[in-house]
C-alpha cells in the first residue's frame, strides 16, 4: 500500500439497530492533499459515511462492517482508546451547526487547548499560544479577545471559524467537513469555503466534504462522489462529472440545480422520493424513479462500470468500453 493513502474503504457498510441500512457498500480511496466531495440529498447516507470514518456514530446503535482503514489502521476493529488517539492528530471533523456543535459553557480557547493538551505533551501556556495562532489562521478578528469568548458571544460565521480552529488544533492529516456552510448566510458561506480550501492547501491535508449543494462541491472538490441510498452511484473528477454526468441520478441532480451549464435551460425535478432505507429494493435503488429504467435494473445491483480511467458509475446503461464512451461524447 502506498503510504500517502489516508483512507481506504472497501464495501463499507453501516447499519443501525433501528433497522436502517444507512451505508450499503462504499468503496473509495483518499490520498494526501486530495479533496473529495460526497454529494447527495438528505438521508442518502453521506453524513453517516463521514461519521463512520471517525467511528462517531452512536456506538451502541451502530453496526459497521467491511474494510475501513485510516492511514493503514483498521477503524472497524480498533478499540475505543485507539480510535480516540486517532481523533484529533490524524482525523478531525467540522460539523454543520456550529451553535450546537460547540460546548456552550466552555470558552473557545478552552475548547481548543483541551484538544491540544489531550494529544500533545506541552504546557498549558504553549497550548494557549497555539490556540491564538489557530484563531488567527482561521482569520478571526481580535483573536486574543475571542479566546475567552463563549460560543454564544460569536456570530454564526465566527463560530464556524472557531469550529474549524478546533478541528485543526492538532494538525490533522485528514479533515472531514459535514455540510460546514449549510447553516450560514450565503455571503458567509463563500468566505468559509474559500478559507477551508486555502487552509487545506496550506497544510496539505486530505479533505472529505459532505454537501447537498453542487455549487459548493464545484468550488472545493478535486473529485466528486454522488451518493444515493447509501451507495456511491457515481464518482469522478469534479469538472468531468459536472460537465457530463453518467448516472441518470447525477444527471437529474445537475438538471435540478442552477449552475453554469444550466443557463437558458429549464430546471427539471427528479420524480418520486428516495427509497426506505429499512427495506431497500434488490436491484438499482434509483430504478423506481429512473426514466431510463428497464427490467434488468431491478434484477441485480449494477456493478460499478469504468468507461474511462478515473470515472465510475453504477448503472447498466453506462458502457464500460472506452471506445463506446468516446463515441457518445462525440455524438
Amino acid at each position: 500500500m502506498r503510504d500517502d493513502l489516508l483512507v481506504l474503504a472497501r464495501d463499507l457498510r453501516v447499519k443501525f439497530t433501528t433497522g436502517v441500512n444507512a451505508v450499503n457498500g462504499v468503496d473509495f480511496d483518499l490520498r494526501q492533499r486530495e479533496v473529495l466531495c460526497i454529494l447527495g440529498e438528505s438521508g442518502s447516507g453521506k453524513s453517516v459515511t463521514l461519521r463512520a470514518l471517525m467511528r462517531l456514530n452512536p456506538p451502541t446503535k451502530t453496526i459497521m462492517s467491511g474494510t475501513l482503514e485510516l492511514g493503514g489502521r483498521d477503524v472497524v476493529q480498533a478499540s475505543e482508546n485507539e480510535m480516540s488517539d486517532l481523533r484529533g492528530p490524524f482525523v478531525s471533523m467540522i460539523f454543520q451547526e456550529p451553535m450546537t456543535a460547540l460546548d456552550p459553557v466552555f470558552t473557545i480557547g478552552r475548547q481548543i487547548t483541551e484538544t491540544i493538551l489531550r494529544h500533545e505533551n506541552i504546557s498549558r501556556r504553549k497550548a494557549r499560544r497555539r490556540a491564538l495562532e489557530l484563531l488567527e489562521l482561521v482569520q478571526i478578528p481580535s483573536a486574543k479577545r475571542r479566546l475567552d469568548a463563549y460560543p454564544h458571544e460569536l456570530s454564526g460565521g465566527l463560530r464556524q471559524r472557531a469550529m474549524i480552529a478546533i478541528a485543526l488544533s492538532c494538525r490533522p492529516k485528514l479533515l472531514l467537513a459535514d455540510e460546514p456552510t449549510t447553516a450560514l448566510d450565503a455571503s458567509v458561506q463563500i468566505q468559509i469555503l474559500l478559507l477551508l480550501r486555502e487552509i487545506q492547501q496550506e497544510l496539505g491535508m486530505g479533505m472529505i466534504f459532505v454537501t447537498h449543494d453542487l455549487g459548493v462541491a464545484g468550488e472545493v472538490a478535486d473529485r466528486i462522489a454522488v451518493m444515493y441510498a447509501g451507495r456511491f452511484i457515481e464518482e469522478g473528477p469534479v469538472a468531468d462529472l459536472m460537465r457530463q454526468p453518467l448516472h441518470p441520478y447525477a444527471k437529474g441532480l445537475l438538471g435540478a440545480t442552477v449552475h453554469e451549464g444550466s443557463r437558458g435551460k429549464r430546471l427539471t425535478t427528479i420524480p418520486g422520493a428516495p427509497p426506505d432505507l429499512r427495506d431497500l429494493p434488490g436491484g438499482c435503488a434509483f430504478a423506481p424513479r429512473c426514466t431510463e429504467a428497464e427490467g434488468a435494473c431491478l434484477a441485480h445491483l449494477p456493478e460499478l462500470r469504468t468507461p474511462v480511467p478515473d470515472r465510475a458509475a453504477r448503472c447498466i446503461h453506462v458502457d464500460d468500453r472506452p471506445a463506446a464512451f468516446g463515441e457518445r461524447l462525440a455524438s
Partner: protein, 314 residues
C-alpha cells in the same frame, strides 16, 4: 457580574417586605385569640384588656405591623408569649440546629442524587437506570415521618446503634457524641432531595449526552474522564437550582421530622408555637425561614449565573 449581583440583591428587598407582610397577616387572619392562650378562660374583662394593651394587640393592624417591622429590622422579635424568653435568642439557637440538619441532609441528598442520576443518565435503559429511577420515585413518594419512625424502630429500638431523640447534650459540636444524633434525621430528610435530584440529573444528563457538542468532543479524541467534566459543567446549573430550592424547603419544612426525632430546631419551635398561639414566635420564625428561602434563591441564581455564561447577558 458585580452589577448583576447588586441588582439581584436589590430585587430581593421588595420580596422580603411582601413576605414579612404576609407573615404578619397570616397569624392575624387565622382564627383564635392569642389572649386565650395566655390567660385562664375565667379571666376578667379588665385583665384581658390590660394584657391586650400590654402586648400592643389593641392597636389597628397597620400600626401593629409598622411597630413590629421597626423592631424586627433591629433584630428584636419581641418576647415569647408562652415562656417570656427573647424570640431572637430562641430563633438563633433553633435555626442553627435546623441549619446543621438541613445542610447535612441536603448535601447527602445532593451527592446521592448526582451519583445515581448521573449513572442512570449515562446508562439509560439499563438495569442501573431502572434501579435509580425506582429509588427516586420511592424517595419522593415515601412519607418521611413514617420513614423516620421505621428507622427509629430498626436502628434505635431493635439494634440500639443510634439514639432516636434530641441533638445531643449541651451545645452542638462536630464530634461523635453529637453526630450520632444527627444520622437518623439527616438520612430521613435526605430521601426526598435525593429522589428529586436523581430524577433531575438523570434528565439533564440524558439531554446533554444527546447534544451535538458531545459528538464534537468525542471527535476531538477526549477520554471518558474529560467528557464527564463537560457533562458535569453543563448539568451543574440545573442540579444546583433544584438543590437550592430543596435546601430552602428543608430549612422550613422539617416540622414533622424534627418532631419525630425531637430535634430542637425551627420546625419543632414552630410546631409548639402553633399549638400555644405564640404569635411573636410564630411571626419571627416564619419570617426568618422565609428570608432564608429568599436568600437561598438569590444565592442559587448567582451561582447559576456564574456557572452558565449564557445567563450573564441580562
Amino acid at each position: 457580574m458585580l452589577l448583576y449581583t447588586l441588582r439581584r440583591i436589590l430585587y430581593a428587598v421588595p420580596i422580603a417586605l411582601a413576605v414579612s407582610l404576609v407573615c404578619f397577616m397570616l397569624v392575624h387572619i387565622a382564627p383564635g385569640d392569642p389572649i386565650d392562650a395566655i390567660l385562664p378562660p375565667d379571666a376578667s374583662a379588665e385583665t384581658v384588656a390590660l394584657v391586650r394593651k400590654d402586648y400592643g394587640l389593641d392597636k389597628p393592624l397597620p400600626v401593629q405591623f409598622g411597630l413590629w417591622l421597626a423592631h424586627v429590622v433591629q433584630g428584636d422579635f419581641g418576647r415569647s408569649i408562652a415562656n417570656r424568653r427573647l424570640v431572637a435568642d430562641e430563633l438563633v439557637s433553633a435555626a442553627s440546629k435546623t441549619f446543621i440538619l438541613a445542610t447535612t441532609a441536603a448535601s447527602l441528598g445532593f451527592v446521592i442524587g448526582c451519583i445515581l442520576g448521573g449513572l442512570a443518565g449515562a446508562f439509560r435503559g439499563t438495569l442501573i437506570d431502572r434501579a435509580a429511577v425506582s429509588f427516586a420515585v420511592g424517595g419522593v413518594s415515601v412519607p418521611h415521618y413514617w420513614l423516620g419512625m421505621v428507622l427509629v424502630i430498626i436502628f434505635s429500638v431493635t439494634l440500639g446503634w443510634l439514639p432516636s431523640m434530641s441533638a445531643g447534650p449541651g451545645d452542638w459540636a462536630w464530634d461523635w457524641l453529637h453526630i450520632r444524633h444527627l444520622i437518623l434525621p439527616a438520612i430521613t430528610l435526605s430521601v426526598i432531595p435525593a429522589g428529586l435530584v436523581t430524577r433531575t440529573v438523570r434528565g439533564v444528563v440524558v439531554e446533554i449526552l444527546s447534544q451535538d457538542f458531545m459528538t464534537t468532543l468525542r471527535g476531538k479524541g477526549l477520554r471518558r474522564l474529560m467528557l464527564t467534566v463537560h457533562v458535569m459543567k453543563n448539568a451543574a446549573p440545573t442540579a444546583l437550582a433544584v438543590m437550592g430550592l430543596q435546601l430552602g424547603y428543608l430549612m422550613g419544612g422539617s416540622i414533622l421530622v424534627e418532631t419525630v426525632f425531637a430535634w430542637p430546631g425551627t420546625g419543632m419551635m414552630l410546631n409548639q408555637a402553633i399549638f400555644q398561639r405564640d404569635i411573636p414566635v410564630l411571626q419571627g420564625t416564619t419570617l426568618v425561614l422565609a428570608m432564608i428561602f429568599v436568600a437561598l434563591n438569590l444565592l442559587v441564581d448567582l451561582i447559576q449565573t456564574a456557572l452558565d455564561p449564557r445567563m450573564r447577558r441580562t
